[in-house]
């Protein structure tokens, strides 16, 4: 099943995009291996694959961000040399990146015009863009205030600006990289309506995602990528989610974690009316209350940016807050010197942060130095101000063996490990401190499937050992398979709590969008 074009697109006009034998490597890593792909004009084509499968690299090549080592690109039947983004734009390709490429303190209009100005002076360009923007907005339901500053807009709006940017440059081919990661289900539906509208106008759309549901809902054809190779291209109507999942991973996957019913103990964490205001004066948590009991996993679901990160950070001692938090009945300081990460660890809270590269690891430190990270003061590693590096290294080797970190070499720098192994280093450090409460954010982000299973099992084991776990994840699948209870966050508040077997993705989706189905 290496590369069966089972769907077989047969279009009268030349295909919008044709890639032949694209290869690209970064140093020793080969990100794309001989990829060929044909996308018919006027279709929505999905590309699905795990993190690190090479989807983004492929699209970056198509957008001129990288130069392929080998292979050729044909746009509309003509061989096209895309050596930079300018060339891609000229070829009629527009791209909406996962992380938006907008200038935050510019207006919508300025962002749209940037790089596509009419002449040396701004005024005429802006006037023209304003007119065109109103037309586009009417045509495709893309309403945005042209004079709003980007930093004042929500992510959904910012994404519209990105689409408008592409349309303003008269893109015929639109590539969207994981466009729904930051959207509520309702916003995602709106986006898909827009995309279908664009397709009906004859535009070609490539949708990169790792969410099977989106592929099934909106695409006409779908390609699957695995480890830098294109493993299949099929008509969406002729396939099913399990089949796609198997193509993605290369073997049958367990979508659910086996776990016994929770044996609940006493309340470990009690949060009452917790508030957090960020550096800009924006209130990020607006009175959050929740409880986690020993022996249970409380899953916090929600679209990224609704306060989950702040919840973890204030509980982990990274940022100050106000309100009341108790651990085993003891109040925790929420501001001042007794509220830092060290005080939290001493109190029995450990924390696997959402972003291991930014917070959880020092990438230029060795594995053994990272094992002491956050625990460099504990008596096992430090006597009278001096580090006991020997003891630390021995301990690290043990942890690496128990958590199956490969390669098992504690002298390697953290940056030399794969995403899954990096996460295991963090997890080993935080779980083996035997915490009363474990905070976990996005435990399997950027982690390969094999490691996901391992990490999920470890979390369940910790729960079964009678520990409390607060899990934050934007992956509903993960929330469903791990949680004993689910709390949904929206706009800095808990919208509601549900039991996993009594709720559905649809209901959680409504809550994530701030709509309480029961109250309405």
């Amino acid at each position: 099943m290496a590369d069966g074009e089972r769907g077989g697109t047969r279009a009268p006009s030349p295909p919008a995009i044709e890639l032949r034998g694209i290869s690209k490597s970064f140093g020793p890593v080969q990100a794309n291996k001989g990829i060929s792909l044909t996308v018919a004009k006027g279709t929505i084509h999905g590309i699905i694959g795990e993190n690190g499968a090479g989807k983004s690299t492929l699209m970056s090549i198509l957008y001129g961000f990288y130069k392929a080592d080998a292979g050729e690109i044909r746009i509309g039947g003509r061989k096209t040399d895309i050596h930079d983004s300018q060339a891609a734009i000229r070829a009629g390709i527009g791209m909406v990146f996962q992380h938006f490429k907008l200038v935050e303190n510019f207006s919508v209009l300025e962002n749209v015009v940037l790089g596509a100005e009419e002449g040396a002076l701004l005024r005429p360009s802006l006037a023209k863009a304003r007119k065109l923007l109103t037309e586009l907005a009417r045509e495709y339901e893309l309403n945005v205030d042209p004079d709003a500053k980007i930093e004042d807009l929500g992510v959904g709006m910012q994404q519209r600006v990105e689409i408008l940017k592409a349309l303003y440059r008269q893109a015929e081919i639109l590539i969207l990289d994981e466009p729904t990661g930051v959207l509520t289900p309702a916003e995602a539906d709106h986006l898909f309506r827009i995309l279908c509208g664009l397709r009906d106008e004859g535009k070609t759309i490539i949708l990169i995602t790792h969410k099977l549901r989106e592929i099934m809902d909106v695409t006409d054809t779908v390609s699957v990528m695995r480890r830098g190779q294109m493993t299949a291209t099929v008509k969406t109507a002729h396939t099913s989610p399990p089949e796609l999942a198997e193509l993605m991973v290369g073997r049958k996957v367990l979508l659910r974690v086996e776990k016994a019913p929770a044996k609940l103990g006493p309340t470990v964490l009690k949060v009452d009316n917790l508030r957090v205001t960020d550096g800009k004066g924006v209130e990020r948590l607006k009175g959050v209350s929740l409880e986690v009991r020993a022996g249970e996993i409380l899953g916090v679901a929600g679209v990224a940016g609704n306060g989950q990160s702040e919840l973890l950070e204030v509980l982990g001692g990274i940022r100050p807050g106000s309100g009341s938090v108790t651990l085993n009945g003891q109040p925790l300081a929420l501001s001042g010197p007794r509220s830092d990460g060290r005080a939290r660890r001493m109190a029995g809270i450990t924390h696997v942060p959402e972003d291991r590269h930014r917070l959880g690891l020092i990438l230029d430190f060795t594995a053994w130095e990272n094992t002491a990270f956050g625990y460099h003061f504990v008596p096992e590693y430090c006597h009278g101000g001096m580090m006991d590096n020997q003891a630390l290294r021995e301990d690290t080797e043990g942890k690496m063996r128990r958590f199956d970190v490969r390669p098992t070499d504690c002298w390697l720098h953290a940056k030399s490990f794969s995403g899954g192994n990096q996460q295991k280093i963090v997890l080993a450090r935080e779980i083996e401190r035997d915490p009363d409460l474990l905070l976990v954010g996005q435990p399997t982000r950027g982690v390969d499937i094999g490691a996901i299973e391992f990490i999920h099992q470890r979390l369940v084991q910790l729960r079964d050992a009678g520990k409390a776990i607060l899990l934050v994840s934007v992956e509903l699948d993960e929330i469903f398979s791990l949680s004993d209870r689910i709390a949904v966050m929206f706009d800095g508040r808990i919208m509601g709590e549900r039991l996993p077997h009594e709720t559905s993705e649809t209901e959680l989706g409504m809550l994530m969008a701030g709509i309480d189905g029961k109250a309405a």
Binding site: F26, S56, T57, S60, Y63, F65, Y66, D84, S85, Q86, A87, A88, I89, M95, F97, H99, K101, L102, V103, E104, N105, F106, E110, N111, V113, L114, G115, A116, E117, G119, A120, L121, L122, R123, S125, K165
Partner: protein
């Protein structure tokens, strides 16, 4: 302080503010493009030396000006090479440029003129001459406005007026032209510019080049307008004070003018009053001389409000995977 003294102080304020103003606008262009430049000082110094040296040899202040700008542009190109092409540390590059200028100017000066690093005294056309503005004579008897016009505003070299004109020109270029939009964007989010199909490298080199040119004007004014020749280390920290003024001005051209005039005033006061009595206590000369530096620290301490620098400043641009 009587009115006549005030007029004198204001007159020298304008003179002393000019090199700061050029340097401050230079820093503005560089930082708006996302390249920090603590090498303003070195570029000024190099420009001051090469302008004075060339003027001394050719007898023309204008040729000196061109040479000064060229020297400054060479150093700017070096800074660009280090911080844009080779993605090096912009602060370290700036420090290196400052030392390079400090060393090379004296070395060359000694080699060419043998005056211990100084250039010969400039006279006549080798220096920029003061210009009298129209009606300066006629207006001078008018009370208050007369002296302010004829003695403060009039009677400076062309470079002073060029500096004042550079402020609206900078504003226009930055906020009303395509180049300005792109330059500001590249200092905020280079990825946005790159994905829009515009060269980040090109824009940044553009910003750095304008910075070099303006530093050239600043340095040339120091040695061929304000003074009559080059002396060792004559920039005396003005490049750093200009950076502080830039922060004080929150990266806005008109405010930069205000900030530079303020620093110019301080320096003018320090020069005019070698020691002053405040409440019966004699303030020592050294304190007056250190005043601009002290004020710089106070401004940087943010006691005058928080300033938000261009977001991508100091970070080399690397395409993300």
């Amino acid at each position: 302080m009587d009115f006549a003294t005030l007029v004198q102080v204001l007159d020298s304020t304008l003179r002393l503010a000019t090199p700061l103003l050029f340097a401050c606008l230079a820093g503005l262009f560089s930082e708006k493009s996302g390249i920090l430049d603590i090498g303003l000082e070195g570029k000024m110094l190099a420009a001051a030396f090469f302008a004075a040296a060339t003027a001394a040899v050719t007898g023309s202040a204008w040729i000196g000006l061109a040479a000064g700008c060229a020297a400054s542009l060479v150093l700017a190109a070096l800074h660009g090479l280090a911080s844009i092409t080779f993605r090096g540390n912009q602060l370290i590059s700036g420090v290196a440029i400052n030392f390079l200028a400090a060393g090379i100017t004296v070395l060359m000066g000694q080699n060419w003129f043998g005056l211990g690093g100084r250039t010969p005294q400039l006279e006549g056309a080798a220096r920029f001459q003061n210009i009298e503005l129209p009606f300066a004579q006629a207006l001078s008897p008018v009370p208050v406005i007369g002296p302010l016009y004829s003695q403060v505003l009039s009677g400076h070299t062309i470079l002073v007026y060029l500096g004042l004109l550079a402020v609206p020109a900078t504003w226009y270029l930055l906020f009303r032209t395509r180049f300005g939009l792109r330059l500001r964007a590249v200092g905020e989010n280079p990825a946005a510019v790159d994905t829009a199909g515009v060269s980040v490298t090109g824009l940044r080199y553009g910003g750095v080049a304008i910075c070099g040119l303006l530093c050239g004007l600043s340095g040339a004014y120091l040695s061929t307008g304000l003074a009559a020749g080059f002396v060792k280390d004559m920039s005396a920290g003005r490049g750093f004070i200009a950076l502080a003024a830039l922060i004080f001005a929150k990266w806005r051209p008109w405010y930069a003018l205000g900030a530079c005039l303020l620093f110019g005033l301080l320096e003018a006061l320090g020069n005019r009053f070698q020691s002053i009595q405040v409440l019966g206590v004699t303030v020592p000369t050294q304190f007056m001389q250190a005043l601009p530096y002290i004020l710089t620290v106070v401004i940087l301490a943010g006691f005058v409000g928080k300033a938000i620098p261009p977001r991508a400043g100091g970070e080399p641009y690397v395409k993300e995977r």
